[in-house]
């Protein structure tokens, strides 16, 4: 009798636990749903549809106008400020910015991480110590002098100035990859080195293929970091040609009239900033969720 009631109790408990998880999913997803819904709503219907779960007259005009596919007059008629906006260009900029930084940074940091883990050379541990100490310096601190340097070198609003501080390395990526390389048994590459492929060959033919997991982890987290980056691109890449999505969204909000922001256009632009990561999540979601693991740092 008592065991039966206990089981019933646990079944109710499980039901409640699932209800909480489902509620968490709803709270997570709803703002995104609302974003898409608003983007599909004509600006004129914003008030009438303010809490309709689906717009009464769904339209793609908001996407067309933020992508610069309509004339200024039509865009203004649809609720825009009429200013030239081209989110297609900004999206491309964001994709290139993220991809270049992620690929180059992972590549260079893997090489250095390997050197710090395996190669013997003078000052190795001292250098690595300084590198780890740099983890303690918050980005805003180096951002101010980096800004003045990029400005003085005349690299404002250039792609080079935009990627320069993060394209070669971050201390964390070197640290993370070095810790992983340390966990690979030495014997694995020792044989290859003696076979005459050298350190370089051993790194490329043995270590890199073995470390696909951690390399993808660093690559993906760097991609996400760069995709979300705002302050640096805002400072050095505000110009039309180097403007990334996050900066463009901020500029777009500032351009809209003070009384009521151009919400339908903003939500269309926001949707563009979500779509690529959604694709990333669909194709690499499993890998991504598995890689979020502190105990991976060994």
């Amino acid at each position: 009798m008592s065991s039966m009631s206990a089981r019933r109790g646990s079944r109710i408990g499980r039901g409640m636990a699932w209800a909480i998880l489902i509620a968490a999913v709803l709270v997570t997803v709803f703002p995104f749903y609302w974003m898409v819904r608003t983007a599909l709503t004509p600006a004129g219907d914003l008030f009438a549809d303010s809490h309709a779960l689906w717009p009464h007259h769904p339209t793609l005009i908001n996407f067309k106008r933020v992508l610069g596919m309509t004339s200024a007059e039509r865009a203004r008629a649809a609720g825009g400020s009429g200013a030239q906006i081209n989110f297609l260009w900004y999206t491309l900029n964001s994709i290139i910015y993220s991809a270049v930084i992620a690929i180059a940074q992972t590549f260079f940091c893997a090489m250095a991480g390997y050197a710090f883990a395996r190669l013997r050379f003078p000052f190795r541990d001292a250098l690595f110590g300084i590198l780890v100490a740099a983890l303690m310096v918050p980005p805003i601190f180096t951002l101010l002098p980096n800004f003045t340097m990029v400005k003085n070198l005349g690299l404002m609003n250039t792609f080079f100035g935009l990627v320069a501080p993060s394209v070669l390395m971050t201390p964390f990526a070197v640290f993370f990859l070095r810790q992983f390389f340390l966990s690979i048994p030495k014997e694995v590459e020792e044989a290859a080195v003696l076979d005459g492929v050298g350190r370089w060959g051993a790194f490329w033919r043995i270590i890199v293929p073995m470390s696909r997991g951690p390399l993808i982890t660093i690559g993906l987290t760097t991609t996400v970091w760069a995709w979300k980056d705002y302050l640096w691109p805002l400072l050095v890449g505000r110009g039309e040609h180097t403007r990334v999505l996050t900066v463009a969204l901020g500029v777009f909000l500032q351009q809209s009239p003070n009384t009521q922001p151009d919400w339908t256009g903003l939500m269309a632009g926001s949707t563009l900033s979500v779509l690529p990561v959604l694709v990333l999540l669909i194709f690499l979601g499993k890998r991504l969720v598995q890689s979020l693991n502190f105990s991976g740092i060994k």
Binding site: F108, I130, V167, K228, L231, G285
Partner: protein, 316 residues
């Protein structure tokens, strides 16, 4: 700085003629890897020297100068720091940031711990985890815009919801609600991510512990308190410190939602630095404020590195 680069170029320029002289001999292992090492570390060392070491030194120098971006920095000793002590706006920004961090970290950690525990005991679904991760993948700028729209005073869905539940209108942008709103929005954005980190930590706990506890008739809450929490502690501490470091650096959400001019109640320290540097061009003063942040975050990072080492030995 000079030591680092000088050493690299010196090594790279060193002649390497080994192996050419005596082909008959078995290739001897060099004493160490100083000939190939520069190749491996050169890009990282250059990046590190130019964009980390040099600006760190310059940042410290800026903080004791008067520098407006237009003139060249002129040394003023500790003036910036003594000004700091009497700057109400600076203290306000610290207070506001602390308030934000408090709300954000407590709500986020409690919710994430709960979600992680539920997932751990109920499901291994990767789809569920990926879904919860979505807000973390989205730029903070986008998060800010989504919620600025949801919390909009006139047409926002949040107030519609509150209305239909019989609660009156809440003005989320008022001095009272502004900071809690921003904090909870970022809690929304980071709870899933934090939950996944904690969940990964829970997976390290041996399953047998739960099985034998069930045999002993322990309930879920008891198991959570007696098994999950104590064994998760190293990971939990680490996640907490990492979240704290991130939380102190709140900027994007505030800067975007308030269109570059936040009300005093939301002017967090990162924004104050930004404003001093790029609105008023007080580079020197901004660097001094940033130094304060360096000290706070430096201490936290030090703890983090300690915990990283500790968690390694704990979970083997």
């Amino acid at each position: 700085m000079t030591v680092l680069t000088g050493w690299t170029s010196g090594e790279a320029a060193a002649p390497s003629r080994d192996g050419h002289g005596a082909p008959a001999r078995r290739p001897r292992r060099p004493r160490d890897d100083r000939r190939v090492a520069p190749l491996f570390i050169a890009p990282v060392l250059i990046g590190f020297a130019v964009f980390y070491v040099y600006p760190t030194v310059r940042g410290v120098w800026f903080s004791v100068t008067d520098y407006s971006l237009l003139n060249s920095p002129s040394y003023v000793g500790s003036d910036n720091y003594s000004e700091l002590l009497h700057d109400d706006q600076f203290w306000n920004s610290l207070k506001v940031t602390a308030y934000y961090v408090g709300i954000n970290i407590v709500s986020q950690t409690v919710l994430a711990l709960g979600l992680a525990a539920l997932m751990h005991r109920l499901t291994r679904s990767a789809v569920l985890r990926a879904t919860l991760l979505l807000p973390w993948l989205v730029p903070n700028v986008t998060v800010g815009l989504l919620w600025a729209w949801l919390l909009d005073a006139n047409l926002g869905f949040a107030n519609h919801l509150l209305h239909s539940m019989g609660v009156g209108t809440v003005s989320f942008y008022s001095p009272t609600w502004a900071m809690p709103s921003v904090a909870l929005v970022n809690t929304w954005a980071y709870t899933g991510y934090t939950a996944l980190l904690l969940y990964a930590g829970m997976l390290q706990i041996p399953q047998e512990l739960y099985e034998s506890a069930v045999v002993d008739g322990a309930g879920e809450f008891r198991m959570f308190r007696r098994i999950t929490l104590p064994l998760l502690r190293p990971i939990l501490a680490l996640v907490l410190v990492v979240s704290l470091i991130g939380s102190f650096q709140i900027f994007d959400t505030v800067a975007v939602v308030y269109r570059g001019s936040p009300i005093p109640e939301t002017r967090v320290i990162y924004f104050y630095i930004y404003q001093q540097a790029f609105t008023f061009f007080h580079m020197g003063y901004a660097s001094a404020v940033a130094m304060v942040l360096v000290v706070i975050l430096g201490l936290l990072t030090f703890v983090q590195l300690r915990l990283l080492r500790a968690s390694r030995s704990d979970l083997g």
